[in-house]
Amino acid sequence: MHEYGITESLLRIVEDSASEAGVTQVSTIRVVVGALTGFVPDSIQFYFETMSKNTVAEGATLEFEELPVKLRCRACAQVFAPETREWTCAGCGSSEVDIEGGRELYIKEMEVS
């Protein structure tokens, strides 16, 4: 469980960005989470509700967008999103891959008033 620290970092970024933009109330925060990360959105939500009290983000909605796993085939260089846990290249059938995407964790945007 490392969502406590993650939520703390998230909140700090939101507060900094809000203050830079001269905003006093954040209503929605959109977070992008890669499918390969171990982060649990529900757990971030849980900490967020407590930690955001008395900040510009109090009462804001957290929206999560999951990015799929993206692999690059080492044999034919095709980039593909595997549909199952069988990580086999759809082009050439090779199972030797490099992970290109799926480990993201970032704040994409927020809605403010």
Binding site: H2, S9, G38, R85, W87, L105, I107, E111, V112, S113
Partner: protein, 220 residues
């Protein structure tokens, strides 16, 4: 209502601290190795075997990450030049070491007197893969009783490994662990990591690992 684009990584702060740790280690010509595995795979035995195997040639420091106890640090204390214990209980992150903890540990270590620092991460195959500590090498240990499907379940940690240890080879006759299948699963995700099958119990295979580590130190 208006939108503000941000696009900032939530782990950016950790990554910045990790980069600072790496710069500090480089400045003191110290190689740091992040050792990760599931609980019970033999991290502490592996650290002890590595220290014994390296002998007196290199000056060693150890950072022990553990949720509560100091048992591991006590075992290691006698063998290494400098040992720092980090108990993660009560810290924001208890499932993995993060760069801030290493930053604090390094401040308590005589870096000029050390050539190599072994960092024993918290036993976990998921969380430690998310946090850069500022280490130079990532080593993942899988032990034979855990089964050979670990790379399929925890791809990230194996994809990022600079070396993969297969521990408890003395148990191979008794467990269903297909070394070939395991190495193929890792190789599918990771083209570069060498494999070191060994037994921390009998000491078999430890020399090959220690020789590799010594070469990494020499190359730095």
């Amino acid at each position: 209502m208006r939108k503000i684009e941000i696009v900032r990584g939530i782990l950016d702060a950790n990554e910045a601290t990790a980069a600072g740790n790496r710069a500090l280690l480089d400045q003191h010509d110290c190689l740091a190795v992040n050792i990760m595995s599931a609980p019970g795979a033999g991290k502490t035995s592996f650290v002890l075997r590595t220290i014994a195997g390296l002998g007196d040639g290199l000056r060693l420091g150890v950072i022990e990450g553990d949720v509560v106890s100091t048992v591991d640090a006590e075992k290691v204390q006698e063998a290494a030049t400098a040992v720092v214990q980090i108990n993660t209980k009560g810290m924001p992150e208890s499932c993995a070491l993060v760069a801030d903890m290493i930053d604090a540990a390094l401040a308590r270590m005589p870096l000029d007197e050390l050539d190599l620092i072994l960092i024993e991460n918290v036993g976990n195959l998921i969380c430690p893969s998310e946090f850069d500590l500022g280490e130079h090498l990532k080593v993942v240990i899988a032990s034979t009783p855990e089964g050979d499907d670990k790379p399929l379940k925890y791809p990230l940690i194996f994809a990022d490994a600079d070396a993969v240890i297969i521990n408890k080879t003395d148990l191979l006759p008794y467990v269903d662990f297909d070394v070939e299948r395991f190495t193929r699963a890792v190789r599918d995700l990771n083209a570069r990591a060498p494999f070191f099958p060994l037994s921390c119990k009998t000491g078999e295979g430890v020399t090959e690992w220690v020789t590799w580590l010594r070469n990494q130190r020499a190359k730095k």
